[in-house]
Amino acid sequence: MSKGIRTRKGATISLNGEAEKIIKEYTSSSSVAIQPDDFFAMTPKLLVKEGTVVEKGAPIFFDKNKPEIQFVSPVAGKLTQVLRGAKRKILALVLTPEGDKAVKHKTAQWEKLNREEAIRLLLDSGNWPFLGQRPYGVVANPKADPKALFISTFASAPLEVDFDFLLKNNKEEFQRGINFLSKLVPEIFLSAEASFGGFFENIENATYVPVKGQHPAGNLSVQIHQLAPLNMGETVWTIRPEDVVNIGVFLETGEFSAQRTVAVAGSAVGAPQYIKTTIGTQLSELLDQAEVDQNLANRYINGDVLSGTATTENGYLGYFNNLVTVIPEGNEYRIFGWLPFLDNHIPSLSKTSLAWLFGKKKFDVNTNLNGEERALVVTGEMERVFPMDIFPMQLIKACMTGDIEKMEALGIYEVVPEDFGLVDYANTSKIEAQEIIKDALTLMIKEVG
């Protein structure tokens, strides 16, 4: 066990609509999709044509730049539609499930595999994209030599899930997944919220790390920064807790496992709850289950309110997220809304609002920008929610000017956009920090690689 991490910077935004701790099963979805944008900076190249019937676990596309990484179908069914956007960019591969045929892999002897064979197995079976890589937050490079694998079971963002509850029936599979993954890396760090580690505390073959602190303490970047800070040229791998389980299930059955337990939460959700379903399920069916009135103007978010991706009620569950948040849109005017100490129903980290007086009160939020974009004026507010030894504002400015040398020096290798979620939220000038960091990372991948 590591002596743990304690962060003092950050913030908790308490929101209404936390998911009730019941898990309902929902596996009979009529439409499933994979969205290539869930894999940062990956260019998909299709392996099958529209109309093809594929088995569960059959490859449907691969990464143009790393052809050995292939992505498989989460269900058995027909590739009914390839949704394309501007410049024929692939937005989503829509599958209609039918039958239950699945590709079988030989996994009975997994304990005897060496590192190369283990990597080969993950690549062939389509489990590889579960592994992420820092810097940049891309799909792991099978040829890389990472110094560790990081798993955070502490989801600290607003309304996020409790992984100990979410995976309570998968302890065995989780341990099996860890055992297998320990073949790939010298060390596995498994973190959990310090006050309650749950079953993660007793997992073997991994270093348990208790983490104490407000959001973004649960973010991998913060934990990597503390435990094994990334130097130029180094890599670490990452994986989400439920995907460890998916690998564990795969090893047992030999079939690709696309289990995704997702919390549908937020103030616009009638019955916020956990639903066990499949990666890429169409949201409308989950939303019905959770009693969301889809006629209202809502914001549907794949992920949390700070760093998630906006979608529609007919959109699809993201590849990685365990949370769908639904909050009302906020396209309304507020008369004299800029007066300090008024409108305290909006949560605020600034003391120019009296919202902080309410202590533990939970807030209803909407998507209003609460102002307009302005020049960067106020200083110190980004640092307050950024628990890393990095100057966030200076890094953002370096990213805006595209000065690669400066970005490297200020720590671009150690961050991903989600770490700037609270910076987006808190900054007075309404600067889109996550967007700036994302563009900068794209530039880094292009120029430095």
């Binding site: 906020g330 396209n331 300090p340 609002s353 998507t367 307009e372 007075t428 309404k430």
Partner: protein, 385 residues
């Protein structure tokens, strides 16, 4: 409210994208967003946002300025009637001051905002709220009898040269309000120093004794005010700088709301106290032996360190940098006071000087972070090599 909203939407129609008056949209939007926080929703990045915005921040600063401003208005009348020797009531003093000061504020806002609006339209961005504070600060640090046209020219100079020439709000190196005062100070010295300018209509009185405390000291004379009088503020000086008491109320608002940096304020007081104390020990002349506590409450030090040095754009931006910056402002302020009898008040020049050095301070603070990271890289490469 809906009626008002609809009227506004109708009025704004010709300014919409692709319409006739599109270019002037920033000017109209400035008025619209003054009435209503707009209905804009998040399109990228975080889906929810804090209630705070630049308007709210700037309005908080203005709130913090109010106690000092109101006392300044009263004190203007008070000094006037005291020198005349006529009896007066509180209201009379206040009204006299208001007649002097409100026109200055109006001139400052009209001239400054006109330039700001023009630049916003010219550059095609929204009007930034920074000038709301600057425009209030400028009259507050002027002598009461300065002609309005000088206020106008100082404002124009500050906004054009100190701010817009550098790219507008957020980009300026010098604090615009202090630049306005420095401009007036060097361009019209007879209106900005001496013993007649600090009391309104002092020209009408023969035996005036309206010298500021620091001016008196610089001239080598004895100060007739007690520490408490200096603290409470019924002394001659620039309009709103005299009352440390009411400036402290403003400081509390700034610190409690987190809008002003307490580190800069604390650093400034610390720097000035230590410097003043060291000079006390030396004690070679009247200025040096001026008690260090008096230094903190006399002149514009309190106003400068609370409202000017804390301007986030022109101050140091890193946490460590803020301490260094604040301490140096304090040190230089007292040093200029003591060593430079031509400029009895040192706080303006100390802050402007440190404005110029703030990026340098930040550079070294950031560089130490960068060096730490590069050192880590170097040791890791040694290990793998």
């Amino acid at each position: 409210m809906n009626f008002l909203r609809n009227q506004l939407d109708n009025l704004k129609r010709p300014f919409a994208k692709g319409e006739k008056w599109e270019r002037f949209a920033p000017a109209v939007n400035a008025f619209d967003t003054f009435l209503f926080v707009p209905n804009h929703t998040t399109t990228k990045g975080a889906h929810i946002r804090d209630a705070v915005d630049l308007k709210r921040t700037m309005v908080t600063v203005i709130l913090a300025l109010m106690p000092a401003l109101f006392y300044g208005i009263y004190n203007t009348g008070y000094q006037h009637f005291i020198q005349l020797g006529t009896p007066f009531t509180f209201m009379e003093a206040f009204v006299h001051g208001a007649f002097k000061i409100v026109p200055m504020i109006i001139v400052s806002y009209v001239v400054g905002l006109t330039i700001e609006f023009a630049f916003a339209v010219y550059r095609g961005h929204e009007v930034n709220e920074g000038y709301l504070v600057t425009g209030m600060l400028i009259p507050m640090i002027m002598p009461v009898d300065i002609p309005l046209w000088m206020v106008a020219i100082s404002v124009a100079f500050a906004v054009l040269i100190a701010k817009e020439a550098f790219g507008g709000t957020g980009m300026n190196i010098l604090n615009p309000a202090l630049t306005a005062r420095a401009f007036a100070f060097f361009a019209y010295p007879t209106y900005m120093s001496g013993n007649k300018v600090w009391v309104s209509e002092a020209g009408n009185v023969d035996a005036i004794s309206g010298e500021t405390i620091l001016g008196t000291l610089a001239a080598g004379q004895q100060v007739n005010y007690s520490l408490f009088e200096m603290f409470q503020g019924a002394i001659p000086g620039s309009i709103a700088e005299t009352s440390t008491l009411w400036i402290l109320v403003g400081a509390l608002i700034l610190i409690a709301t987190g809008v002003g940096s307490w580190r800069i304020m604390a650093g400034g007081v610390l720097g000035a106290a230590v410097m003043g104390f060291l000079f006390n020990l030396w004690g070679a002349n009247a200025l040096m032996s001026f008690n260090w506590m008096n230094h903190l409450v006399a002149g514009g030090f309190a106003f400068g360190i609370v409202f000017m040095a804390t301007d986030p754009v022109s101050a140091a931006q890193t946490t460590k940098g803020k301490w260094i910056y604040g301490i140096l402002v304090g040190i230089f302020c007292i040093m200029i006071r003591v060593f430079n009898p031509a400029y009895p008040e040192g706080v303006m020049l100390a802050i402007l000087l440190m404005n110029v050095f703030a990026p340098t301070i930040d550079h070294y603070v950031i560089q130490s972070n960068v060096n730490k990271r590069k050192k880590r890289w170097a040791t890791s490469q040694l290990k793998t090599a």
